[in-house]
Amino acid sequence: MNQEIKVMVNGEKRKIEVKPTDILLDVLRNKLGLKSPKCGCGRGDCGTCTVLINGKSVKSCLVLGIEVDGQEVTTLEGLMDNGLLRVQEKMLEGNSFQCGFCAPGFIVMSHELLEENPGPTKEEIKEAMAGNLCRCTGYTPILEAIEKTCGCKE
């Protein structure tokens, strides 16, 4: 039942065995030890499992592990090779998170946004982050940190 797949995980070539039914999120957490993506709903509603496949954000609870055979997967752990991202620095300064459970998802999402669109408007930031739920902060401090990162005004 197990099949071997090859995945570029956070810049490192990895060979792992998966079952076709294994969910990517579980593969990342349990087989690769990458615990920053987390399960909040298991059905794509909350975004706390967000990772990048070939640079594009996905909800890893709605992807099979076996689907990423031959692909590049990046989690928050893999975005910090050169230290903290600017957006992380702003989030740290701004006390952007409270319980912190949603933080990895938000940071991965904001990274994708700023890669695709370095100068987003406030509305574009809100739209890009709308698939990530946070129950603690009321979002404002998260959004403000992203705005500060890209120097966006209106």
Binding site: L84, C99, T140
Partner: protein, 787 residues
């Protein structure tokens, strides 16, 4: 209080770096090795049924199944304030989703598969799904024994301040009687009565409940839980499992970071399963992980309430009498929820001075999921009706609604409904500042004829609801470099508790907060804390930390005195060193001696590792009072008060509400970290906004929850935040608080529902009395009115 160096400053969160790097560990992030077992729960499909037979044979036969457990193995009841909850259902299920049995297996897949093979035969009974049905038709609420959800209610152990009613579905009947209602209503110029209702709500912390249990072969039981209450959990596990020979010292609860609580992770709910199941598989850890649907159904829900309010007023706006009858849909088990009912009953006057009061706050069993604590702890629920009703009264008296509030607002020293006196507070200042910020009285008009603009206002208050002797402790350990570990057992659930505790210790010891790390609780190691609930932790644990720091400071000064022959009264701490008022050059860095002591010329040393100890328990609080009147005790340590207002825009054709501005002023006593206080305001306002505009729990006619997911239980997203939020901090010190602080965490969500209701009324002239006030409801109410 002099100049403060660290307290009152918006320092960066102590847990900030861990959280933004994904390094912060939550229970499900911990590794338990390849021999971890997984449990799946067999749940009741019925809201009310007798369990006739459970057949576990097929499930047990599946390869990979380690153990199938039913209620037969754990015939025990437990609970926080009342022992009415079961580890597994015993002969009877009382809500859809209740745990009936469990399968422990090698993988989650096998566990779930096997759980489906457990055959349970039920005799289905008619469920009691509303307060109305549960209370029956008799004046005294007595019902036939077979209509009692807990026929053995009279035998249940409970705290002395609960008053269950025999032969009814009433688990607790909180009465407040003050003054003379009859006379007061007679003397009133007007009496206004109305009814309001608030449905059930879910906490929706993004982390689901999870617990891992391990009983080792020496019979030590360790639990890793996502919890707000490690010590209380240990106590309840020890109580519930005492028949197995487990005692407090044998039980250890470890709680890493928790992904949001909001009350939902207080006390013990599903964690009892991990504790119990672990005892059936000695030597192997077993994980119970709730999925989102179970999270909605089988933890705690915010209770629904029906309120009947009757108010007598004078023509000048003075309130002479208030009658609040609150009937709570508390669900199948009320071991925690009954105290929500109690807290609301004590304070259902709101922050108002009312001479004559009658309150009935009635905790009613129903066949819906267990009710329990949720940010606001009953206050959000009763305040919706009260603050809505006060607006209606003001309108009928032709008095400005804010002026009406100013006339009646409670002041320091005023008598509370249970006879004690109100603490110092900045309620009037809050009203004044909010009024100014929201430009109260200035009417805005939209150029779009479909858009109507309204403003709403509400006051709020809340006291910590806790046993009179709830306590906090702290051990403060110095390290070699004079950095500090604070061992405390409150939970960093996001509010910023660790940061603020660090600031308190930093201030006393004059060590920068960056050099202080709080240690997540482990009941073997960290000292006692009651629970991280009730917005009491800043105040209560803050006092304990302050005392621990003072204890450490005293030890430091004493050893300097003893080793170097300095006068203690000359010594003080500054810049991580001991200095002297009389010797300018004396500067002894703490790092030189806080572990290894001070060396003397003869090669001996004085002192040794500095470990501070601090404890706080309020010694003035009492929950004892006359059961018929509620008079006599001091059940609440103090109230935190404030005011809030909003501007909304409603599209009258669609009912859609937009929120251009919200303002909230809260009297924090002393904001130990203003940025974190603002964080609570921003977060609480949106959580409150969601309860009034979007969320509610919907059950079908058999008591099954229909929206146990985020697809249909709509918590707000980034696109749903108000355009502008103005947080206002007011500081009237709390004399017994650390640096004058009192809690503000829950309060920020409490006023939102009524202020939105009041703004809708202001914009459209319609009073909506039944939450939530969704776009659809606003729109359809408008349409039917037009017809």
């Amino acid at each position: 209080m002099g100049n403060l160096k660290y307290v009152g400053k918006s320092v960066v969160r102590q847990d900030g770096l861990e959280k933004i790097t994904g390094a912060a560990q939550y229970v499900d992030d911990l590794d338990f090795g390849q021999h971890l077992l997984y449990a799946a729960i067999v749940e009741s499909p019925h809201a009310n049924a007798e369990i006739l037979k459970i057949n576990i044979k097929k499930a047990q036969g599946l390869e990979g199944v380690v153990r199938v457990v039913t209620g037969d193995e754990f015939p025990y009841r437990f609970g926080l304030y009342m022992h009415d909850r079961y580890i597994f259902a015993q002969q009877r299920v009382r809500f859809v989703g209740e745990q009936v049995a469990a399968v422990i297996a090698r993988t989650p897949e096998i566990a779930y598969q096997a759980a489906k093979l457990v055959e349970v035969k039920y005799k289905v009974l008619k469920p009691v799904l509303s307060v109305h049905d549960a209370l029956g038709v008799h004046q005294d609420f007595e019902v036939e024994k077979n209509n009692m959800i807990h026929p053995d209610l009279s035998e249940y152990k409970h705290v002395p301040w609960f008053f269950p009613k025999d032969k009814t579905n009433i688990a607790h009947f909180r009465k407040i009687r003050k003054g003379n209602m009859e006379e007061a209503f007679k003397s009133a110029d007007h009496v206004f009565e109305d009814e309001y209702s608030v449905p059930r709500y879910a906490h929706c912390a993004i982390e689901n409940h999870v617990a891992v249990g391990l009983l080792d072969h020496s019979k030590r039981l360790t639990l890793w839980t996502a919890s707000q209450s490690p010590h209380t959990q240990r106590h309840l596990f020890a109580e519930a499992l005492s028949p197995l020979g487990l005692t407090h010292k044998d039980i250890r609860v470890i709680t890493p970071y928790v992904g949001g609580g909001f009350g939902g992770k207080a006390g013990v709910s599903m964690e009892i399963l991990a504790a119990a199941l672990a005892t059936t598989v000695p030597g192997s850890p077993v994980k119970v992980l709730w999925n989102r649907s179970q999270e909605f159904v089988n933890t705690y829900q915010r209770q629904g309430v029906n309120a009947k309010i009757k108010v007598g007023v004078k023509n000048n706006g003075e309130i002479v009498a208030l009658e609040q009858l609150l009937y709570w849909d508390a669900g199948a088990y009320v071991e925690y929820g009954a105290n929500v009912v109690n807290a609301a009953g004590l304070s259902a006057t709101g922050p108002y001075r009312i001479p004559n009061v009658k309150i009935d706050s009635v905790c009613v069993y129903t066949n819906l999921p267990p009710g329990g604590p949720y940010r606001g702890f009953g206050y959000s629920e009763f305040l919706f009706g009260l603050e809505s009703h006060f607006n209606e009264i003001a309108k009928k008296l032709n008095i400005d609604p804010v002026e009406f509030r100013e006339i009646n607002a409670i002041k320091e020293g005023d008598e509370l409904s249970y006879g004690a006196k109100m603490n110092p507070n900045g309620l009037m200042e809050a009203i004044e500042k909010v009024k100014k910020e929201i430009e109260w009285g200035k009417k805005d008009k939209s150029s779009d004829p479909n858009i109507k603009i309204g403003k709403g206002f509400s006051l709020f208050w809340k006291a910590p609801a806790m046993p009179p002797n709830a306590s906090s402790t702290c051990f403060l350990k110095f390290n070699e470099d004079a950095s500090i570990n604070l061992l405390i057992s409150g939970m960093e659930i996001g509010q910023g508790y660790f940061t603020v505790m660090g600031q308190i210790a930093a201030e006393v010891l004059q060590i920068p907060p960056e050099k202080i790390r709080c240690v997540t609780p482990d009941t073997d190691r960290n000292p006692y804390e009651w629970q991280t609930v009730a917005s009491h932790i800043t105040w209560s644990c803050g006092n304990a930390v302050k005392r621990a720091a003072e204890d450490a400071r005293d030890q430091i000064l004493e050893v300097v005195h003893r080793a170097l022959n300095k006068k203690i009264e000359d010594l003080y701490l500054e810049d991580e060193a001991v200095k002297s008022k009389t010797e300018r050059d004396f500067n002894l860095p703490l790092k030189d001696f806080v572990i290894n002591g001070i060396g003397l010329k003869d090669g001996t040393f004085r002192g040794g590792p500095i470990v501070g100890r601090g404890m706080y328990m309020p010694e003035f609080s009492s929950a004892l009072s006359n059961p018929e009147t509620g008079q006599g005790g001091k059940p609440n340590v103090h109230y935190t008060v404030g005011a809030a207002a909003c501007i909304i825009k409603i599209d009258k054709e669609t009912g859609k509400v937009q929120v251009p501005k919200m303002v909230l002023a809260v009297d924090a006593g002393k904001a130990l970290n203003p940025d974190l206080v603002k964080g609570q305001i921003t977060g609480g306002l949106l959580q409150g906004l969601a309860t009034v505009l979007y969320e509610d729990m919907r059950f079908d006619k058999n008591g099954k929850l229909l929206n146990s997911n985020f697809t249909d239980y709509k918590i707000p997203t980034t696109l749903d935040v108000p355009d502008e939020i103005v947080p206002i901090i007011i500081e009237n010190p709390q004399s017994d608080g650390p640096f004058g602080a009192r809690g503000i965490g829950e309060h920020t969500m409490i006023p939102v529902a009524p202020m939105i209701g009041n703004a809708i009324e202001d914009a459209l002239g319609i009073r909506m009395r039944h939450m939530p006030l969704t776009a659809e409801k606003i729109c359809m109410t408008q349409l039917t009115r037009r017809d």
